[in-house]
Symmetry: C2
């Protein structure tokens, strides 16, 4: 989640990344490969969680490096970073690759837990890259993996190792996005796969007209997936974690807002509906967040699960004892070494089923609600993150693989492969390498400032969120369910992009294209041989545009 | 589930269905509609559970009746049989229909619980059909609905009502199948939608390599869906309820068989896998079935949930107390009016996660198993039964709607619309009306013999099951996971039919076509004018074929 900006960030980053900090983004332009075709040796490691498109990155790397020189070799570290440290690699052959092209999961090369942190890890990575004489190492994963790519590239450069490190961003969470970065691969597929399921649930509840379906969606803290799925399917209620946090909502507030919709629908003669809940929502609820933090701290202070309830503060203790037994048990689950609870282990959908039922029972007793309430809880998790990639993700992931090879061939290190103008037609996509340090912020930790790449929260003022705000009041009672259906690979819908990308970035893609076209046109008009008057006009006009943009850039 | 044949069945059926019993199947052949275009008034009611293709049936009825005569009218009973009894109908207009064509769910016309049983229901149905002057009434649903269609058509005929009743079989369970009936609409879509999810789970577990996914599939007692999904996805373990029942397996047997696979996989260095479980499996397990029966009986005898455990027999009591608390609670859930527990309320996947864990712990203590075991339970239920229909189901459902109109136009009652040669290309499909009474068996109940249409169990000697038996040993340890991906509407895979239909009925479809072609050829060769010798040869040859077939028919 977002951190407040550290005013010394630039200095800290320059200090931590002396070799890789001061560099610009590298634009990758189409053109012939260099005539001296140096054979490339590239390593690839999948550091994140399963992401649709993972195999396409590997295919892109393989295709691009063998196109560069047929003698090039791609080595996959089979089993994630663990395999990188132990130099457990396998040459990727087309004969194997073809079985995995555009398949879901990442079973061809496997994965392990995210972990490149310690000095020992860094030295082992150096040893492996030296042993294999790698020209480049591609790290695929989410924000944590991109942070590791930055650390690794700096370390390699400091050690004088010639292995270029390139990050390739992919995650179903879709949280690596900014004005600079349109999206990461995997998000499009995952949100479409979940939307298909939610669309089916909407059709189902509208047919049976007797159940409330509470559906929790995978996707860690930010609610990007939930936002996209809501825009795709129009459920009656959608929770957005960032909104709950911004409004400082308590559990009682959230429960009340859902119960209000149930009551309003009941008054309209409807006793069914769909509620969509992001996995991370639970930790955005103000009082729950405090309670979980207290439990974390008590565990850290050596208390046992049995001792925790009696050691809570009065407020948290009251909240804890008001929770369903199921949830109490989940909140007390043993912490992983990191110290905090895995959000995926909390069945927020069940907690809300139970608490909304209790709220409605109360209203019934008070004569403010009549009729039953049959909630059913669903978790849509593992079944989407290994889905077959959509055409968009397959193309993007493959393209990023190609981009990484181009960067490695140019000897550029510390960059992340990035696609621009992705909301436009594929023919108009552009690729570049963005310095990983440029994406970093500095987090304040007990052990001092720590440079990291953090995921973006849902922008409550962004175009996608505005669209949701505009539409969702009408969904609550007058349902206009929408079922986008299964992901298509042929036919009209096959190349539809997700609504988030479309609403947030389509205008940017169009404008960027226009700017580039105008510049190209000016260059065409100002060839040598054209009258000096024309050149003078161009210079003066352009200079004023540059001045204005420079002023704006300082804001 | 299957009933042992009642030797007096034919007599009982003839007695119960004097008006509709003695009739033959009606072949519907292509040809011009009658020149005297009588305008038709048809009612349609959806009696079953949500089934992909439901809207296509309605569209087929609408298209066919307005093609028959543009003045024809189709009335939907909005809200299932309840609406039929209350004459709550709405004329189906193309303007509305077009929003629902090929959509999932059945929200355009709704549904209610299955219920046409009492004399009062029957008279109300008569009153409604009289009030609307219906020429025909189409009932869409599963085996229970087809039974009701039989009762209704007999009652209408007895009352001299001219409304023809036609059944249109659809259900995700796919259990109305026999030598006569290839399949029902809905099964193809549901099994493909679940297969997509299971395929993703297989890719996921093979990528993370740390979890066992236990997936329970909706589909009531017979295991048809699970069988099809297993053939599509190749999970490590698949339970088939009919097999468990046939082998008289106890819970301990089932747990042991799964634990054996876990141990064998562990020895092969693999600590992950996928187990697929049909919803109905729980009631096929010998000792669990007895226990559930005892609980049903104790409830029927007026005992409360608290009193039940102490009133169980010694065997059942021992089993009950060995079960996880979660399962105990589910087993004691209050019965619906029918008397027995809804299988969907039992989380068999969690029961098996817990009991297999306990079994492995025991083996670990005995030194027979090393290493961990991380099971995760999933239920794939409501998200498939309202999925958008596959091309196969959309076409079949629409075709059956057309067939029903043809039957109604011909004044035929007591028939079920049925497609033949469905495993072949659509151009070679044939449609017919099969007498509903022909599909009936006689069930022995406490209140006497009861004619019903029952669903077919998985045929353990059938082609699909044989294929499973052949393949699955190799899936247990040497996984060959297969991911069929999302249902496609365009492109190469769009018209693939499911493996069950293909393996069980493709040969039949080909042979049937050949028989029909041979007969047509003989008729062509034996026109009037052909030499008497040829006719004599044909007669003699055909007579011998007929005699042999008649002898075989008696077997």
């Amino acid at each position: 989640m977002s951190e407040s900006a550290n005013p010394h960030a630039e200095g800290i980053l320059r200090q931590n990344f002396p070799c890789t900090f001061d560099q610009n983004a590298v634009e990758i332009v189409p053109g012939p490969w260099p005539t001296e075709k140096k054979k490339l040796r590239i390593g690839v490691v999948f550091c994140g969680r399963q992401t649709p498109g993972g195999h396409n990155v590997v295919a892109g790397l393989l295709d691009a490096c063998t196109k560069h020189s047929p003698d090039s070799e791609l080595f996959a570290f089979v089993g994630g970073t663990k395999a990188l440290f132990e130099n457990n690699s396998q040459k990727v052959e087309n004969a194997t690759m073809r079985f995995f092209r555009s398949q879901g999961g990442i079973d061809m090369i496997g994965r392990s837990v995210d972990q490149i942190c310690t000095e020992e890890h860094l030295s082992k990575a150096v040893a492996t890259c030296q042993a294999l004489s790698l020209d480049g190492l591609a790290l695929i994963g989410g924000t944590i993996s991109m942070t590791h790519a930055a650390l690794l590239s700096e370390h390699f450069a400091k050690e004088g190792l010639s292995t270029a490190v390139v990050g390739i961003p992919g995650s179903v969470d879709g949280d690596l996005k900014s004005n600079r970065i349109d999206t990461m691969f995997g998000f499009d597929t995952a949100s479409k796969a979940y939307s298909q399921l939610i669309g089916n649930m909407c059709a189902d509840c509208n047919s049976a007209k007797k159940y409330y379906y509470f559906c929790r969606l995978m996707g860690r803290a930010p609610s990007h997936i939930t936002l996209e799925c809501a825009l795709q399917t129009h459920p009656n209620v959608v929770l957005i974690g960032e909104e709950i946090a911004a409004q400082n909502q308590t559990l009682a507030d959230v429960v009340k807002s859902i119960a209000d919709v149930v009551v309003a629908r009941r008054e309209a003669g409807k006793n069914y509906g769909v509620v969509v809940i992001p996995e991370g929502a639970i930790n955005s609820i103000a009082d729950i967040k405090l309670l979980l933090k207290e439990i974390d701290d008590l565990y850290a202070a050596g208390k046992t699960a049995e001792q925790i309830p009696e050691n809570l503060t009065a407020w948290s203790s009251a909240l804890f004892s008001s929770l369903p037994t199921l949830t109490q048990g989940e909140f007390l689950l043993e912490r992983e070494s990191g110290g905090s609870l895995q959000l995926s282990q909390i069945q927020t959908e069940k907690l809300l089923c139970l608490t909304v039922t209790a709220e409605l029972d109360k209203r019934k007793e008070a004569g403010k609600y009549e009729g039953g309430f049959s909630p059913l809880a669903h978790y849509f998790g593992y079944q989407a993150r290994s889905a077959m990639p959509s055409n968009f993700d397959a193309t993007l992931a493959n393209t990023l693989g190609h981009a990484a090879v181009a960067l490695i061939a140019a000897g550029a290190t510390g960059l992340m492969a990035n696609g621009r103008r992705l909301a436009g037609p594929v023919a108009e996509w552009r690729v570049e390498g963005v310095p990983l340090t440029e994406l970093m912020t500095v987090k304040t930790t007990p052990s001092g400032p720590e440079p990291v790449i953090v995921g973006a929260d849902v922008n409550l003022n962004g175009a996608a969120m505005k669209l949701l705000t505009q539409l969702r009041d009408s969904w609550a009672v007058h349902e206009t369910y929408r079922n986008p259906g299964p992901i298509q690979y042929a036919g009209e819908q096959a190349n539809d992009i997700n609504i988030t990308l479309q609403s947030e970035r389509e205008t940017t893609a169009v404008r960027l294209k226009e700017v580039e076209e105008q510049c190209t046109r000016i260059l065409e008009l100002c060839r040598s041989g054209c009258p000096p008057r024309n050149l003078a006009t161009a210079c003066s006009g352009l200079q004023s545009v540059v001045s204005i943009l420079e002023i704006l850039a300082k804001d």
